[in-house]
């Protein structure tokens, strides 16, 4: 493959992996990298091949741009989907990222669970709630069957406001946790 073909192929792959960015941003990035390759390969002792090698695979380069965009969007967003995706990216990069991701999954699951119980209690009161037996919580949620007959329900309808409060608090806290972790990880990167 001659150097012009290598160059074109690199830029094509780069462009095709920048799908989440706007067309204008995409073209600007490709133009900038193309200028870099031309300038860099023009230096004494350099070749298109060595320049591309130093830049790293086009897929990886594109992924860094996409990550940057994802992190920026997510750290200003409240969408659990976007935040979870960003947390997952964080998890692929560091151990603390894995911790943050697991916390967020649990946070969202518990938050949604509490809200669900509150809603279920207000729709099918007999089948939803929290039951204890011998001082232990044996069932919490919404059930068709399976609640031990000897268990007795606690909280009653109070589980509705409590579930809503606990649920939304957990969801808000989880959102804050992820957003702050994302901001922190960007801060750390900023040392560069």
């Amino acid at each position: 493959m001659n150097s012009e073909m290598q160059n074109d192929k690199y830029l094509t792959v780069l462009r095709s992996h920048l799908g989440t960015l706007t067309a204008a941003e995409r073209e600007e990035i490709v133009r900038e990298i193309a200028a870099h390759i031309r300038d860099s390969a023009g230096e004494p002792g350099a070749s298109v091949e060595s320049v591309l090698l130093r830049l790293g695979p086009a897929e990886d380069l594109a992924a860094q741009y996409r990550d940057g965009l994802l992190m920026r969007r997510a750290s200003r967003s409240v969408s659990p989907l976007l935040l979870l995706r960003a947390a997952l990216r964080l998890a692929t990069k560091s151990v603390s990222g894995i911790f943050v991701f697991f916390c967020s999954v649990f946070g969202y699951a518990f938050g949604a669970g509490f809200v669900f119980i509150a809603l279920a209690k207000s729709i099918v009161p007999a089948h939803a709630g929290a039951w204890v037996q011998d001082g232990r919580l044996v069932a919490m949620g919404a059930f068709e069957y399976g609640i031990p007959p000897s268990a007795h329900e606690i909280l009653g309808v109070w589980i509705i406001p409590l579930g809503l409060i606990a649920g939304s608090l957990t969801l808000v806290l989880t959102t804050f946790l992820i957003r702050n972790s994302l901001k922190l990880s960007q801060r750390l990167q900023e040392r560069l």
Partner: protein, 117 residues
Amino acid sequence: MAALASLWNGRLYGLEIIRFLETQSQLSLAEGTVYPVLNRLKSEGLLDSEWVEAEAGHPRKYYSLTEVGRSRLRHMAEAWASFSSGLSRLLEPVLQHSAEERATAGVSELKEEKIPQ
């Protein structure tokens, strides 16, 4: 921070920033990481960019610090300076100790050399 610092004295384009960082410090960055970082700094409003037609025959994307970027860099530099001076104080005894060790090791080597004579 390094990328911002390289622009303190005026606008540069990507390759110049990379070369600047290489020559002014031991920071040799993977070239592929510099451009996405510049892109991020720009979208955060710390950098501005403009395409300038160069004598090389193709335009280059020049970056410069915005006012926000300038003041952010100033804060970062101050924070970094106080952090690193604290750390240097902390490491001083360690460096002193290892220098002494090297000195005494040098002396004992000399002695050993003398013994066979």
